[in-house]
Symmetry: C2
């Protein structure tokens, strides 16, 4: 394997050796989270010198992945630590500047793989803001006090309500095309066309106008929801926040659940979490993620669950799995395939599913289910080959079984292994597999799987609660292959070797196209369509070539384009 590009990758700042997705409000450098009764406010006040990588300053509230990691963390804390918050106001902590979007110097120097995965994470964070409103009743207001350009406006587009100061200069803009010869990378075009339903010719003018649109026209063109003069802006934002808080159906009570730091140990060839282990086989380009079943039975009551807080097994495991996936995505680009395994008793996992179902109206249970939904979506959208190995001693039941259905393929051992006296592997389906975890396309993984024969889905549904062995799972269409002990090792080895031998780009495109059959949603459009265009354009010489717009931005030299339309 040669890889001439690795050497040129930009080093992380401050001697860091990996990007860390764990943070907490006391460590934020770019955001401040303030909660006042039922109104939360998130102030963006980027520390210019706090860039994740060396070589650029984060001027004008521009951002890099490090800024977005803090935002994603703050959104999670609003869910779990502030169940009484009913509206969040996104705003700038700097006067007359809202947000200049993703930092251009960072983009110009980043590897393609980092850029694409950075865009994906920011997209997921924006989707998370929308999910918070749609499913947890915590609405978002974006109050723009200056210029919201590029990713800055894309952040605003994630809000339920966009307010803009009407001062003759504050504006919203998507200047990527005219300035940089690329597209907005974080769902901007799709949200303009599909969420805000901006008329297509207005959208065309907007996206080709470097300076953006301001004042009354921004409202007429549906780019913002309201404008207010500077003197009345604070009052207007305050009043609007009260309106949204009053309308919110969020009913969380109590002090919330503190998201304590994850227990993690990074070693050269893996990461050890409490309920999860990641092992890297770098020669074979494989990451094996082994999830462990619950260490104890479910708590006796919802109150006991709240008392456990972030030590409650389903919550802890979801957070650890999310962290592990993000670590692989952004720090381990050479991993070709993620292998999911599990260890434990199916019945122990099922006991937790029953506990969650019995308390399904408790705010904390709802948030835990929504967290699993988002983690599983993140796995669906991870551009690595995914495979689940279901073997004796595993516990792919309920929520954990979703990993098999999120995988490109699954292998389930038929019968037992010679010399292993554990019973044969089983899958157990629960109610959770039939509605709790829709994919980006709006369907459950099983509904997507059985698109051709909805009757098969009903047949599978009737098997809930049963220990399904490999023969049954294969017959029902739940697993791809069910080799026996004699064939297992070779089949799995050949598959993994083959996967590592294919073009990584080709696999990314193939998997993205095959994973999401059926309907499209705004979310699936953003990932499947907008991201693909973005990937393409970001790779073209017109953007990244020596004479391209990204390279020449700020040099005073005009870019030179290959003028052929493709």
């Amino acid at each position: 394997m040669t890889d001439p590009h690795h050497a040129a990758d930009r080093p992380l700042a401050n001697g860091r050796t990996r990007i860390d997705f764990q943070t907490e409000p006391s460590r934020y450098r770019h955001w401040k989270l303030k909660v006042d009764g039922d109104v939360a406010t998130l102030f963006l006040d980027v520390d210019e010198k706090g860039g994740l990588f060396e070589g650029y300053d984060l001027k004008l509230n521009s951002y890099d992945l490090g800024v977005d990691i803090e935002l994603a963390d703050a959104i999670e804390r609003l869910r779990f630590e502030h169940p009484q918050a009913r509206v969040v106001v996104l705003r700038s902590g700097k006067p007359r500047v809202f947000c200049a979007g993703a930092n251009i110097r960072m983009l110009a120097g980043a590897s393609h793989a980092h850029k694409v995965n950075f865009c994906k994470f920011t997209n997921e964070t924006r989707n998370g803001i929308e999910d918070l409103s749609e499913n947890s009743g915590l609405a978002t207001i974006c109050a723009i006090n200056g210029t919201a350009a590029g990713g800055g406006y894309e952040l605003a587009l994630a809000a339920d309500h966009i307010m803009l100061v009407d001062d003759g200069s504050s504006s919203v803009a998507l200047p990527e095309l005219p300035l940089l010869a690329v597209l907005p990378g974080t769902g901007g075009l799709t949200r303009v066309a599909d969420k805000r339903k901006v008329r297509r010719d207005h959208a065309d003018v907007f996206c080709t106008t470097e300076e953006g649109v301001k004042g009354k026209r921004a409202v007429e063109w549906r780019l913002v929801d309201e404008v207010a003069p500077g003197s009345k802006f604070e009052d207007a934002v305050h009043a609007r926040a009260r309106d949204f808080a009053a309308k919110s159906r969020r009913d969380g009570v109590g002090p919330g659940v503190k998201l304590v730091p994850l227990t993690r140990v990074f070693a050269p060839d893996g990461v050890a979490y409490d309920s999860l282990a990641v092992e890297f086989d770098r020669a074979r380009r494989i990451a094996t993620v082994t999830l462990r079943g619950p260490p104890a039975p479910p708590p006796a009551s919802a109150d006991a669950m709240v008392a456990l807080g972030s030590q409650f097994w389903p919550l802890k495991l979801a957070r650890e799995l999310d962290d592990a996936i993000l670590h692989i995505r952004l720090n381990e680009f050479d991993v070709a395939a993620i292998v999911f395994k599990s260890s434990g008793e199916c019945s122990d996992v099922v006991a937790y599913e029953h506990f969650l179902d019995a308390n399904k109206d408790h705010w904390l249970v709802r948030e835990i289910r929504h967290l699993w939904k988002r983690v599983l979506k993140r796995i669906d959208l991870t551009s690595r080959s995914l495979v689940t190995l279901i073997e004796p001693g595993s516990c792919f039941a309920g929520t954990l079984a979703e990993l098999a259905f999120a995988s490109d393929r699954s292998y389930m051992l038929l019968g037992t292994r010679e010399g292993d006296n554990r019973p044969p592997a089983a899958i157990v389906l629960t109610d959770a597999n039939f509605g709790a975890y829709p994919m980006s396309n709006g369907l459950t993984r099983l509904a997507s799987r059985f698109l051709a024969h909805p009757a098969d889905l009903e047949e599978v549904k009737a098997e809930r609660g049963k220990m399904l062995d490999a023969e049954a799972a294969r017959r029902l269409g739940l697993v791809t292959f069910a080799p026996d002990d004699i064939d297992w090792d070779d089949e799995v080895r050949v598959f993994l070797e083959e996967r590592a031998s294919f073009s990584p780009d080709g696999l990314t495109g193939l998997e993205a196209n095959l994973r999401f059959a059926g309907p499209e949603t705004m979310e699936s459009k953003i990932f499947a369509r907008l991201s693909a265009w973005q990937n393409w354009i970001f790779q073209r010489p017109n953007a990244i070539g020596e004479e391209g717009a990204l390279k020449r931005y700020g040099t005073g030299q005009k870019p030179v384009f290959d003028t052929r339309r493709a």
Copy 2:
């Protein structure tokens, strides 16, 4: 403008200077069309030496754009010249070989712009086959007598019914990823996932297996509809053709309408058709397409229309417009913007709309409406900036008004021009604007335009038949800008200059994302999602670099990949 890549473009074969989209059965080199009662058969028998470009042989029924131009022509002739045909059998004219897909040598040597536009045209041809079945009742059976690989299987996927010889070797395959590090370019993945609803893990195995799938497994995995042993294959195909013909609702009668060759004159700076003129302003990278209104009133009766045949104005204009768009797409890559203009009387165009409506159940009228639908979709999918200029003397009424709604922007002159005593410009809407011409997303252009406010669509609908001046058109949201005589020239000039100054790649992605708001269909997925992934991957070093798979295919050397997943 520098363009170092032009020089390296592969020359056309036989000294040709442009790709011609006009052909007819007597000139086919690769297909034979046979019509026997209500059963038509299309035999693919590629002439190895008949490549469109120099430098490759079309072995094993592999194809290039020239082969697909003949197929597209044959499909049009089935519509217009053979209204009694009720089923078409696609098959190979060579023994034990079906089709090896797009020619790899051709792909390896083609410019990116040609490849992308080639894939787009083949996609449109496949969609046309499906449209012929869905909307005109002419079903397609694909009879595979050997290996259908890559684009060969993608051709089969366009059929209603796929039959495969069960002889132990004949197979279907999408080997692009394992062989070439690219994706199937003609809708393959989307049709596998969404049309045939192949289970995603089966699809994963299928698309990563170079040799494909054959026999019983091909049926079980829904890749084909039936298999039959070689000895019984002919009888089975014949019987199936009879079944489909019997079920067809196609009711065309008579001898059909001969599609006579278009009258065209190619000059250095334009193309003159009977009802249409194309002018190139190469310095400014603009193609102006001027459509002329009808030269005479509509015929007195449907019989008189049939007697006019392909001279009937709506049919002739549609064919000429289609040819002009394809010429610009594939021969004039440097054109940044297509400007639509028209000349004539709105009332004359409206008279034709009324004639078509009055005869809307006549098979020929239906085919003409479907042809316009496809031509307009082709325009939607053309990766050039589209603008319609509506000026005094123009006739954007009914079907022609769709060009304004297909455009990224439209400009309509407010009032008259000094020294021009013609009346101010008008737009006239007719029933045709409210249903006859759905876009790829399944909505009409006006419904897509007014997605935010369906009430606006109703308001516009109530204005059918009126001469709408610029003020009214702007108020109703039908045009983007309505400058007066004083501002017109500057506004239009600045827009066109700006468009030519932007990155062509960025514009392609921007326009593709903004043109199709709202729902997605299989067709929109193919163009908006699959094509974008394809574009990206086709541009990556892993495919086209010196050590990439496309470059190394057939050399005996293995490709070397940048292993990072993006």
